[in-house]
């Protein structure tokens, strides 16, 4: 009975993982395919990588996407942190419930609605004050900040609630004025959440296709927009090469983060054991 069930679980796990990873493995393999037609195997080759590196269109899309992602992540983290602080540390202020609801609304709003409403907003703004005359970097960035800020605010709120207020009280008790408490205690306490919030906003922006498609203008192609528009004309091997590079970069980043975290944890553990031994 027990053995049977565990075999069932193993099969389910294998199937689940296979469903998840086989497409990615196929993608990587096909990126090395010489043939111009994706499903036809024409032997191993780096042809599409070479073509990819020579394509100005791809590189301008990568550069635009990265620029938007960095600016978006930075602003979203700053604004989201302020919103999170207001929610957790300002006590009960008038309109707190409404504010909290409005803060998380972008999380549940369909992207099509967000994108469409932002487009309408930018068009009317252009008619009113003559800006933005052209949609592109600025409009996409603003659109991304509006929704990724909500994700950051949620992350920050969770961390603030988690760490509690005792350290801030201790700092105030030792004579630190409110602004000093914020910079010397609260912000350093929030560092892990700030980093993960920033990374989250960065990824959300890099990933977004729907909202960016609404608020972009002629000539401003982000990477997802470019990939999607090319795919519409049929599968293309150079896109496979691009995707493989992205997978590699992400894998390296995750591995580095894991190694750093593991080392830190081990060092902390050793220090604590040493302290306990010294005392006894």
């Amino acid at each position: 009975m027990y053995a049977k069930r565990s075999r069932f679980l193993t099969i389910m796990l294998t199937l689940g993982l296979a469903f998840f990873y086989i497409p990615m493995i196929l993608l990587v393999i096909y990126s090395f395919n010489y043939s111009k037609l994706v499903p036809v195997w024409g032997g191993w080759s780096l042809r599409w990588y070479k073509e990819l590196f020579q394509s100005a269109e791809v590189w301008s899309a990568v550069s635009l996407s990265l620029q938007i992602a960095v600016v978006n992540a930075t602003f979203a983290t700053a604004l989201g942190t302020l919103a999170g602080l207001a929610m957790v540390r300002f006590g009960r202020f008038k309109g707190r419930t409404l504010f909290g609801g409005m803060l998380v609304a972008p999380l549940v709003m369909p992207e099509v609605i967000t994108g469409l409403s932002l487009l309408v907003f930018f068009i009317s703004l252009n008619q009113l004050i003559g800006w933005p005359a052209e949609r592109g970097f600025a409009t996409i960035t603003i659109a991304h900040i509006t929704f990724s800020m909500a994700y950051v605010a949620v992350t920050i709120q969770a961390r603030l609630t988690g760490v509690g207020q005792t350290l801030e009280e201790a700092a105030a008790d030792l004579g630190a004025k409110p602004f000093k408490v914020l910079t010397a205690i609260t912000i350093p306490q929030l560092t892990p959440a700030l980093i993960s919030g920033w990374l989250l906003a960065f990824t959300l922006s890099l990933d977004d296709l729907v909202i960016a498609s609404f608020v972009t203008g002629p000539g401003a192609n982000t990477l997802p927009i470019l990939i999607f528009s090319r795919i519409r004309l049929g599968l293309r091997p150079d896109i496979n090469a691009l995707a493989t590079i992205m997978i590699l970069v992400i894998a390296i980043c995750v591995a580095i983060a894991a190694i750093i975290m593991f080392r830190q944890q081990r060092a902390d553990l050793l220090d604590r054991q040493m302290a306990e031994r010294e005392e006894s």
Binding site: T166, L167, E169, A170, A171, A172, D173, L174, G175, A176, K177, P178, K180, A184, I185, P188, Q189, D268, D271, R272, M274, A275, E276, E278, E279
Partner: protein
């Protein structure tokens, strides 16, 4: 560190000569419908080590947080060294607090943690270094100043927290369950250290604790709190030997409490009639003859003798041993009185029992008795 100027060892007795350092008047704190602190008054004098003792939710921590400036008062005033604290924010109060969780800043070294308070006051850098060094020496942590809090053991963290709270030489140090996070052995040792340090630096301490033994060992005076009010304020001896209510008698140590009626109320003695014997108390009490009161007897103040004859007269009665608990240094006897009530009696095991016959055991007939000074009258 500053050494306290000559103060009377019992400043609360000569109130005319000394102004209290802390004056709490009619302080009330409500959380919604719950009253955490209910209209309390308290004076604390310079150099005292005052304990607020009570169970969880009795309002002791709330009172401490109001002194620190973390909670607003609903009504009443708190005055520290003659200054009304109503409009003084936490960061400007002459108090420092040692938190139950220690609240050490995890991203700063021990040295930086201790220096933090001095930096806020813009003390010159060289002075900061000196003062940090001195205070770390006092708590025997000079060798640990470059460590982060997570690299310290529980006892070391506790001492860093104490050093950080003391380094600013506050007029008043507030300690929230300072020993609760330590293991039992370390706690006992630290109790005495804490009292020694207080003696050395001469700062007034207010300690919140739920541990009655801790309160008894540490404090010059203590207040027993329940449901937001003070049940009794006094020295540990006063609280233990002269409790005023059943709550205090039962909360501090253990006590056998029984009902009685006052039959005679003399200037220097009181007689109380109870269900099993007459209780004679050899000092005066403000009670009315005929009124119903309670009497409490501490288990260690009752004598126990094996006897077949039935005891008669005041302050003694026959009883039967119902249960025996051997604790090593002492034994606890549960004795059944003629009316069925069970008393706890503790006896020191002064000699090794060599014969089984010497030992008191189940169903032995005994006499219990106590001194005329031992019984305690409780009004409520």
């Amino acid at each position: 560190m500053t050494v306290s100027t000559a103060v009377s060892p019992e400043p609360w007795l000569d109130q005319k000569e000394q102004e209290p350092l802390v004056k709490i008047r009619g302080v009330t704190k409500k959380y919604g419908a719950v009253t955490a602190v209910d209209n309390v008054d308290l004076d604390i004098y310079k150099g005292e080590l005052f304990c607020l003792l009570g169970g969880s939710g009795c309002g002791k921590s709330t009172l401490l947080r109001m002194l620190a400036g973390f909670e607003d008062l609903n009504s009443g005033t708190i005055t520290i060294d003659g200054v009304d604290m109503a409009d003084v924010p936490a960061y400007e109060r002459p108090t420092n607090m040692m938190f139950q969780s220690y609240a050490l800043f995890p991203h700063m070294t021990v040295e930086k943690n201790v220096a933090f308070g001095l930096e806020q006051d813009h003390v010159p850098k060289l002075d900061i270094a000196d003062r940090v060094h001195d205070i770390l020496k006092l708590v025997e942590l000079e060798d640990f100043k470059k460590r982060k809090p997570k690299q310290l053991s529980g006892g070391q963290r506790q001492r860093v927290a104490l050093a950080r709270a003391l380094v600013k030489r506050p007029k008043l140090l507030l300690l929230d369950e300072p020993l609760a996070a330590l293991d039992k052995k370390l706690r006992k040792q630290t109790q005495f250290e804490l009292a020694n340090i207080q003696d050395k630096v001469g700062v007034t301490f207010i300690v919140v604790t739920h541990d009655q033994e801790e309160a008894m060992t540490l404090s010059s005076r203590m207040a027993v709190m329940d449901a937001g009010r003070f049940k009794q304020i006094g020295t540990p001896t006063e609280i233990y030997e002269f409790p005023e209510s059943r709550f205090v008698a039962d909360f501090i140590g253990s006590a056998n409490i029984f009902e009685g009626r006052v039959t005679e109320d003399g200037v220097d003695h009181v007689r109380v009639e109870t269900e099993f014997c007459e209780v004679y108390i050899d000092h005066g009490h403000s009670v009315k003859a005929g009124s119903k009161i309670w009497v409490a007897l501490r288990p260690e103040k009752i004598r126990l003798e094996k006897s077949d004859t039935i005891a008669e007269g005041a302050n003694q009665t026959a009883a039967v041993i119902d249960d025996v608990g051997y604790l090593g240094e002492t034994s606890i006897y549960k004795v059944r009185l003629p009316n069925g009530e069970i008393f706890d009696v503790t006896q020191p095991n002064q000699s090794r029992p060599t014969h089984a016959a010497q030992r008191l055991t189940w169903e032995d007939k005994v006499n219990i008795s106590w001194d005329p000074s031992s019984a305690m009258l409780l009004h409520s």
